[in-house]
């Protein structure tokens, strides 16, 4: 069973006056089949955690470890992590001019699966996945994320999640910028992937509304660059009612 183990992770970014520590000792274990919600106020470091796990060059890991089934993720390049089964659905997906969605998806699937998918089954697979997410087939011929609305970008991220079938899915604010219908469609997509029982999900969010569609097994409160409280789904209800105030004031800080 695939397991992602994050131990005492410290991460800095280059800021104006020198390196600035954002993550200050994150501990978390995510197992295949589990869903962990990470909730926290703006600026608490949620995206930093997500990007650091994916290997974005902007972030420097200063100490700690990240293991996927015992393998050192931090030593892997960005693409190696993805091929090892780590998937990051981004808060702000990037536009890639001149690269069509269909070409992009096929290139990615070929890389992750280790061989080019058979054309006939592949076309069908993509079509069905797009239909399930209520994406117009015309998107396949558009350039990656170019001119996509916020909601369309998020659907496109979940489309990739469905096609690439990772072991660990990190979903950074996939709910933000979605209207109610889109939130439901995207959540259903995530649930389809979860229901296979083959993915461990790290659901990063600021708001509780997505948790009405996606039941987490664990909820972690993130503040000041670390997890300050963990609990079950009931913790989300508490956050819904009380907000983050208690954690921001009393929580880990400077």
């Amino acid at each position: 069973m695939a397991t992602l183990e994050i131990r005492d992770l410290h991460v800095s970014v280059d800021a104006e006056g020198g390196p600035r520590e954002i993550l200050r000792g994150v501990d978390l274990t995510v197992k295949q089949g589990e869903t962990h919600a990470i909730m926290g106020p703006n600026g608490s470091g949620k995206s930093t955690l997500a990007y650091s796990l994916a290997g974005h060059p902007k972030y420097t890991v200063t100490s700690g470890s990240v293991l996927l089934d015992g393998e050192n993720v931090l030593e892997m390049t960005v693409d190696e992590r993805a091929r090892a089964g780590v998937f990051l659905a981004m808060q702000y997906p990037v536009e890639v001019p001149g690269v069509s969605v269909s070409n992009f998806l096929r290139t990615a699937a070929t890389a992750v699966r280790g061989e080019a998918p058979k054309l006939r089954t592949w076309v069908k697979e993509v079509k069905e996945a797009m239909a399930a997410l209520q994406m117009d087939p015309a998107f396949a011929e558009r350039n990656v994320n170019e001119g996509f609305s916020g909601g369309e970008k998020k659907r496109h991220e979940i489309l990739q999640l469905e096609l690439l079938k990772p072991k660990i899915a990190i979903l950074d604010e996939t709910d933000s910028g979605l209207d109610v219908d889109a939130l439901r469609i995207v959540s259903e997509g995530i649930n389809r992937v979860r229901s296979t029982g083959e993915v461990g999900t790290l659901l990063v969010t600021h708001y509780t509304r997505i948790l009405r569609y996606i039941q987490p097994d664990y909820v972690h409160v993130f503040a000041g660059g670390r997890i300050v409280e963990s609990g079950g789904a009931e913790l989300a209800d508490k956050l819904e009612n009380e907000g983050y105030e208690a954690y921001v004031k009393g929580g880990a800080s400077e």
């Binding site: 390049t77 960005v78 993805a82 091929r83 997906p93 990037v94 001019p97 001149g98 290139t107 890389a111």
Partner: protein
């Protein structure tokens, strides 16, 4: 990639200079302290054209039009020391192959043929040298109202030596044609190409510079766009040691339309220069320019100068020009200079933009985060960068061929 943009529908004259030295990614323009006032386009258009090489002084490299060109690598095309080797029966006989669809004629004519010089007269010493020294000109004619379904192909394979050439493409009124001028091989060459696009005619002209690494090629390509006619010019430069192409567009009547596309890939040590002038002196004409280049390797040098002049008489003009450069490695240099001069306020629109940048790290990260290895991700990005432009050509066969060439460049150079 950052953009310098200057879009204006008013009467302001604008001129910005974008110079990128070494590391690339550097931009200049309004507000960056690098804006320069140059010799006005007006003055450059006013250069007295002439067929006689002796009417032009030998340029030394400090002149506005020559300041980016490494004169010592011109092989003497500019100072009279290059003499046609073909005349001596020596090396350097071009192999020219023509593919002429039904109805299209090709003739070789002498300097006194009345059709020469109608689209444009040489405006610099090298072009005048070419006119003074060529032996026979090639005139390709597409008769009126003939709509071709196959492209006209002119394959020039140069076999060393010095060559001077003159080609006239005469597309008669209401004809439609695609003409591909393809250059391979090597040698030192100066040429004039004239494009006559008759009233209501449509010409797609593709000039491919697929030279071997040591070729020198300087060409003036003059177009005269007729009333309600449209020209699509596609200039593709991959090979050569020094290539300098000078497309010029004038309009013979209102309603004319010119789309100028260019694509270049400069490797270590190559100097690839494209400088164009669009002279809007006729009302209600349009022009749209998009040139894109990639550079990689030490001393790869790309120069792009886009001069657009909207004269007082050219009311209702609509023009936009855009140059983008992707600098793939250290040591490459880009000089990108859009110039727009507007002498009337009664226009539809006028604008220009220039951007020179490195790989976008966020794009590469996104692709890699989907398992795509770094080298493949870079190739995808460069391929995409060019594909956007290639898609505009509208001739599938040419698009496929160009994408194959780009693919080959990527395989060889981007890893």
């Amino acid at each position: 990639m950052a953009d310098v943009q200057n879009t204006s529908g008013a009467t302001t004259a604008g001129s910005i200079e974008v110079g990128t030295t070494g590391a690339g990614a550097q931009l200049a323009g309004p507000g960056t302290g690098r804006a320069t006032v140059q010799q006005p386009i007006d003055a450059r258009v006013a250069v007295k054209p002439s067929f006689d090489v002796n009417d032009f002084p030998v340029p030394h490299g400090r002149e506005e039009d020559w300041r980016f060109t490494p004169m010592h690598r011109l092989g003497g095309l500019h100072d009279g020391t290059a003499a046609s080797t073909a005349a001596r029966g020596g090396e350097g006989t071009d192999k020219v192959e023509l593919a002429l669809p039904d109805g299209v004629t090709a003739e070789t004519v002498g300097r006194d043929d009345a059709r020469l010089g109608k689209a444009g007269t040489p405006v610099d010493r090298v072009a005048a040298q070419a006119f003074s020294a060529f032996e026979q000109a090639l005139v390709v004619t597409v008769p009126a109202e003939t709509v071709l379904t196959e492209p006209v192909k002119i394959d020039v394979h140069a076999e060393g030596g010095v060559r001077f050439a003159h080609v006239v493409i005469d597309v008669k009124p209401f004809a439609e044609a695609v003409v591909v001028l393809n250059h391979t091989g090597t040698g030192t060459r100066a040429a004039n190409v004239e494009l006559l696009v008759g009233d209501g005619a449509k010409l797609t002209f593709v000039s491919v510079q697929d030279w071997e690494r040591d070729a020198v090629h300087v060409a003036q390509q003059s177009a005269l766009v007729g009333r309600d006619a449209s020209l699509k010019s596609v200039i593709v430069t991959f090979g050569g040691d020094l290539v300098r192409i000078h497309p010029r567009v004038r309009y013979a009547g209102p309603g004319g339309e010119a789309e100028l596309y260019g694509l270049y890939f400069a490797d270590a040590g190559q100097h690839l220069e494209h400088r164009l002038i669009i002279d809007h002196d006729t009302p209600h004409c349009r022009s749209n320019v998009v040139y894109k280049g990639a550079l990689q390797g030490q001393d790869a040098h790309a120069v792009w100068v886009g001069d657009v002049l909207i004269r007082a008489a050219a009311e209702g003009t609509d023009t936009y020009e855009h140059n983008r450069n992707l600098v793939l490695t250290d040591g490459a240099r880009v000089d990108s200079i859009p110039n727009l001069e507007i002498e009337t306020g009664e226009i539809v629109g006028a604008g220009h933009a220039s951007a020179t940048g490195r790989f976008d790290d966020e794009q590469l990260f996104y692709l890699q985060a989907r398992g795509i290895p770094a080298d493949e991700a870079r190739r995808l990005v460069v391929r995409g960068f060019f594909a956007e432009l290639v898609q505009q050509i509208g001739v599938a066969e040419i698009q496929d061929h160009l994408m194959e060439k780009i693919e080959a460049e990527l395989e060889a150079n981007v890893g």
